[in-house]
Symmetry: C2
Subunit: 104 residues, 2 copies
Amino acid sequence: MADQLHSMCPKFEAAFEILGKRWTGLIIRVLLQGPCRFKDISEMIPGMSDRMLAERFKELEAAGLISRHVYPETPVRIEYELTEKGKALRPVMDEVQQWGETWV
Amino acid sequence: MADQLHSMCPKFEAAFEILGKRWTGLIIRVLLQGPCRFKDISEMIPGMSDRMLAERFKELEAAGLISRHVYPETPVRIEYELTEKGKALRPVMDEVQQWGETWV
């Protein structure tokens, strides 16, 4: 048990460390609806500055949770999408939401 | 959707803020097995100092996730137990564990 706990510890913390940052859970929840442009998300979360969103996008990309697609149109279109790793967070988000609604 | 997102935002963040702290997830996972004395948990998580554990216990108690029971024996026995709010985190912990095992 102690060994099992220990081996999970860094993974647990890594997961919560990403998800625990301000706005991150919200950004992931918006992206769970489908790919979005920067402006789409920015408008859906009015309290969050564009600078903050750009920072979160970078972190989420570095964590392998989102990918960035550039479509060479005029004007250029850039979309952000959850990777498989990011999409796999849906059950986590659902359970946290349910817990939050009942208990927070 | 935007309204719904917004109303959930503080609850999401509150949940992740608690769970995202170092050792907290691990402490909750140990307590999901049943009530424990300070020393039991301390021994199960050798990398964590007693001072840190005491701090986390205080935070978790303040968040309403654990309760502290004092049994007036000789020597006095003190046990920590998850509250209903704390026990309700089991599905969250399970989903995060599953995600972590697959993706982290």
